[in-house]
Symmetry: C3
Subunit: 171 residues, 3 copies
């Protein structure tokens, strides 16, 4: 099953995704899209890693998410992608073309994924519209991606203060 | 029926409103509150227009929303107002007096509207509180307007990643 | 019962909390965490006070929330704490140590509170991630606090356009 987990900053998204993985009893692959560009980010990444079971495989992949998921298709692994908004941010930092190409590759791949995958993503569009054109573009792209992902995923879960709130359920 | 559609940026509000209009089989009037002040905005407006059926009537009305709705009362049209936050932003750019007068005119008119109307509006108050007094005022006014609109509308729908989530249902 | 009321700016949180207090028929203690640092804030505080019944006791407590709640434990009062995000902001303005100490004191106290308490707090993490490290820290702390509070409270209610949406119900 594919599941999209949405929520604001520190709303318990990652912890929820991890509990889903543990419950599955499967081998877990954790795909981290974060890249450590400053010390604050480095610290966040290390803190996150310490909360995860030691036997999980971690793959750092800031760009080629579809390729990385595709390579898991032969294994019956449970996959966590954490998170889509950082990935989108990495893509936009490269170029609009790479962003369009990689997001399309992901959306094209999804219907054929038979692994259980939980995609974690930040809700970023419910604040005041940012001034800069780049920020607005990021918010727009994130919203658009969430809509497409929600169509492709069988379950969509919104996290509020650590409480999962299912807004789309498997048929 | 009056319906308020709330949601973050690119959460599928406009598309949902348009699907409601198509389902109604009625003649549709689309009231656009956007004004094209820069090229980015111009582009957005054009993109939005291309997604709408050609036989819909479009009215651009950045300020006098109550008047424009009032003029539709004799026709059994389905009306989309897209969107309230841009309208509010237009009003505040004029003056506090015009803002107070026009929002009051809308709220006074609503109980007598027998057309089906879907009001689209952006959720802007769930991010960090903006620094500037003007931004804070906008966020406050938007929140207040949403509360009043939610009382006047029979249905309130929150969009999350393109998925409608009804939070107030017709009795 | 302990209840956490979350919502965006001007989403009707305070009004909902006050209606809960009125419905309880108990003596009401209103704990205000706001401090009037500028004229805009002063005005907001006065406006809020005017909407509250005259026989409610108001306590202004920007920092020592756990102490203030503890002092109410002998009285069968209904308590409103409005709001946690301002309190958190006050704590962070003092120091990280005071913030950690006071939030821990609150979370430690909660299981022993037999008063009815409604905690009002702002959803601040659903907009774009703020640039400044301090803002990011505030958003992180608020999210973390909301998760802990949601675990300690029997009911969690999200306000959307003045409409209460219960996301955790008493067992």
């Amino acid at each position: 099953m594919l599941e999209l987990v949405l929520g604001g900053a520190r709303s318990g998204k990652s912890q929820y995704a991890q509990s889903r993985a543990v419950d599955s009893k499967k081998a877990v692959v954790f795909i981290a899209t974060a890249t450590a560009e400053d010390s604050e980010m480095q610290q966040r990444i290390q803190l996150h890693q310490q909360t995860r079971p030691a036997d999980w495989q971690t793959i750092e992949e800031p760009i080629k998410l579809a390729n990385t998921l595709h390579a898991q298709q032969e294994n019956n692994t449970f996959i966590i992608v954490d998170c889509l908004t950082l990935w989108l941010s990495n893509l936009l930092a490269r170029s609009e073309e790479i962003c369009a190409k990689e997001t399309q590759a992901l959306l094209t791949l999804l219907p054929s994924m038979e692994n259980d995958v939980v995609f974690v993503s930040n809700e970023v569009g419910m604040g005041i519209v940012p001034m800069g054109e780049l920020s607005r573009r990021f918010v727009d792209e994130a919203g658009r991606l969430h809509q497409h992902m929600a169509q492709s995923c069988q379950q969509v879960t919104q996290m509020i203060a650590g409480i999962p709130h299912v807004i789309k359920q498997p048929a």
